[in-house]
Symmetry: C2
């Protein structure tokens, strides 16, 4: 940094709907990372950005400045191209688990740096930690070796990638400034660009269980991220996908691993299979392997082989039985009819309250806790049939989980049809 700026000037510029200069952005991110700009200054700036927005140039510069705050990884020495996927988070979204080994089985390396869950959406690392022995932490050298040997790695992001983003994300979480599209986009993309992937597919969820509640907001976020990736030389594609309803038939850590293994074995819920294959196709295409057919790799067991190798490489035993919660309670259909709605957010909150998620980042999670669905919208149900099963090790949690499920489903007269968005809503390239 050769030039110095004044934090209040930077804040006032954005407060008064001005455009921040490159110098202001570089300075404020660097100074915040070093503690020269105080938390209370960054939080009023974040609120001004949330309410007044940023131009494409500002978002790109903000992202670059966050990347510059830490190290960058480099996969150019690998013998295969790389592709990564990022989901903005949803209920029952276990897609990374079957997807990474599937894409690896098709010849493209998948360096998947993941996080833990916070709130009602589960975290990929929490899910995999229900596999006995599996370890989330790898050194950069271990990660590179596994990418070369196995082709897929799902591990915790190191402390060195975009430290400015870590600090800023923690601040936004407590200051009501999470929901700013420029900050969401730059947060995600700074980590993904610093991670060094050659291609990136973004799964932007839309609906009650997602961060973006409307297609319009999701489209804006997707467009912003695709621009950021493209400008940074990463081949980036985004898919808007449905999160009105949970994905698959499970929400919870071990429950979702079990379902992912079913998909890798050629079974599993139709929506999980469809989305896994669709995202795999996009990743392979973005990585220059449009010839590979992921449906084949799923059917012939190559994806399952890659899963076994991936889990074993990180100390896990893919054959060991998965944890099961101690207690279960069923929710029954009260009437005959057609299930027309099953709210993703309410199911997610119930799974969280059962112990599958955490309220604070230091809280533990229960491996076996969660919600199992016995029907999805469109299904005909009969009074007294099971709709949901709740799982937890701590039965005192049932009552608050059931409260969260109040109004979570609608059963309409026979012949009714649900009014839902398609699973894949649109693609933004």
């Amino acid at each position: 940094m050769t030039e110095s700026y004044d934090a209040v000037d930077v804040i006032v510029t954005k407060r008064d709907k001005g455009e921040l200069s490159d110098g202001q952005i570089d300075w404020v991110i660097d100074a915040y990372t070093r503690g020269v700009v105080a938390h209370e200054q960054m939080s009023s700036l974040a609120m001004a950005i949330l309410l007044n927005g940023m131009t494409r140039r500002e978002i790109a510069r903000w992202t670059s400045a966050m990347i510059a705050s830490g190290e960058r990884m480099d996969f150019s020495a690998l013998s295969r191209p790389t592709a990564d996927k990022h989901s903005t988070g949803g209920v029952g979204d276990k897609i990374t688990l079957p997807l990474a080994p599937l894409v690896a089985a098709c010849g493209v390396a998948v360096p998947q740096l993941s996080g833990r869950g916070l709130g009602h959406t589960g975290g990929t690392l929490d899910k995999l930690e229900s596999v006995p022995g599996w370890q989330a932490s790898l050194t950069n050298e271990q990660m590179l070796r596994q990418l070369e040997d196995v082709g897929a790695v799902i591990c915790a992001a190191g402390e060195g990638l975009a430290p400015a983003d870590k600090k800023l994300y923690a601040l936004r979480d407590v200051t009501g400034t999470v929901e700013a599209i420029p900050l969401i986009a730059s947060s995600i993309m700074s980590k993904k660009i610093a991670e060094g992937t050659g291609a990136l597919v973004l799964d932007v969820k839309v609906g009650s269980g997602a961060f973006m509640k409307t297609v319009e907001d999701a489209r804006e976020l997707a467009r912003t991220m695709v621009d950021l990736g493209t400008d940074a030389g990463v081949r980036t594609v985004a898919m808007l996908t449905n999160m009105q309803v949970p994905l698959g038939l499970t929400a919870g850590n071990a429950l979702e691993v079990r379902e992912s293994v079913e998909v890798l074995a050629g079974g599993g819920p139709q929506d999980v299979v469809e989305l896994t294959v669709a995202l795999a196709r996009e990743m392979l295409t973005a990585a220059g392997r449009e010839d590979a057919d992921p449906a084949d790799a799923l059917a012939d067991g190559r994806a399952m082989d890659a899963w076994h190798r991936m889990i074993r490489a990180q100390g896990g035993d893919p054959e060991a039985p998965l944890p099961v919660a101690k207690e279960a309670e069923d929710v029954l259909a009260p009437v005959d009819g057609v299930l027309t709605q099953l709210d993703a957010l309410k199911v997610g909150v119930a799974a969280w309250r059962l112990g599958a998620g955490r309220a604070r980042k230091e809280d533990p999670v229960q491996a076996g806790a969660g919600v199992e669905l016995h029907a999805k919208p469109g299904a005909t149900v009969r009074a007294g049939e099971r709709l949901l099963t709740l799982h937890t090790d701590t039965p005192e949690r049932f009552s608050r989980a059931l409260e969260a499920l109040d109004g979570s489903f609608t059963i309409a007269p026979d012949g009714s049809r649900p009014d839902l968005l398609p699973l894949v809503i649109e693609k933004i390239a």
Copy 2:
């Protein structure tokens, strides 16, 4: 506080243009004062308030909550009614100095709790501290005794009044959230209402040298403060007055005391006399003494007597010579013509840079430093005549003060007339 709230919920309510409940406001002010709500949370809330506004009810409740954070003074035992004046701050605004003794001389007690200057507007306490021996700090008992004996006191506000405001003001100063009308109004009025005055006249300055640059903004601030005072049972009136041009012919600490004494002696610049008398009339009327004539009390020496007693009561020597700066430098009129403009902000910044003001609250000020004006807009000037004289103890400051004065005045051809707002623009009751 019986109920507890979540800081993020409060922030998000205002961020999303909602109205804060009484419970949310009471809680957030109390929790911030106690350190339970963090600085970075209050700063994002302050930015959301700045950008999204507050209703009259919210502002009133916010003000009450700040008053409730500390002690309240009570002047009901005094034998006279009380009236106070607050100015939003301007360049050369020494009006409090002649005004407080003038109103006291007319039988109304003036409890004037003042502050120090920060930035380009001077502080009343800094000005009075140029009087040899004068002390700004009084206990509540000393203050009450002086109000009873002398009828006027100008002293530092104690730590006990509205501590929430002190904490919040310091935060706003570093987070770009000073310029929020609801926060400005509640900051001023919480202190004035807690101070316990029975009547209050607000001098809301408009123009380059003031906080409010337009009549519209000043009117909104004035209206908001009058409503707050009225709702709290304080008879409150606001006057919008001109701050396009410095008040009087001096900006600086001892320089302004000298000019104030000239006014009390029956002389002084016409605008200072006019505004002092106009504000005195409003204070007397608001305190129920519309029969008293402040012009008389100025002419017959009663106001000067009250000044002497007020200064002596706080240890000052009103007859002692005032400090004079060691160095002076003149600015001359470059051409013949009519002075049509003399910018208050630029003169204020020059006085500040000469040493009359401070950049940080712990900085010292120079008693003798400042700017003397030899002409005001409307005057005919000749090339080579003195327009301004700059005073400082530290001559290395002249160059930056002269920089600040670049473009500070306009001399138009003979026969031109300045286009300025009237001294008293309007009254809001």
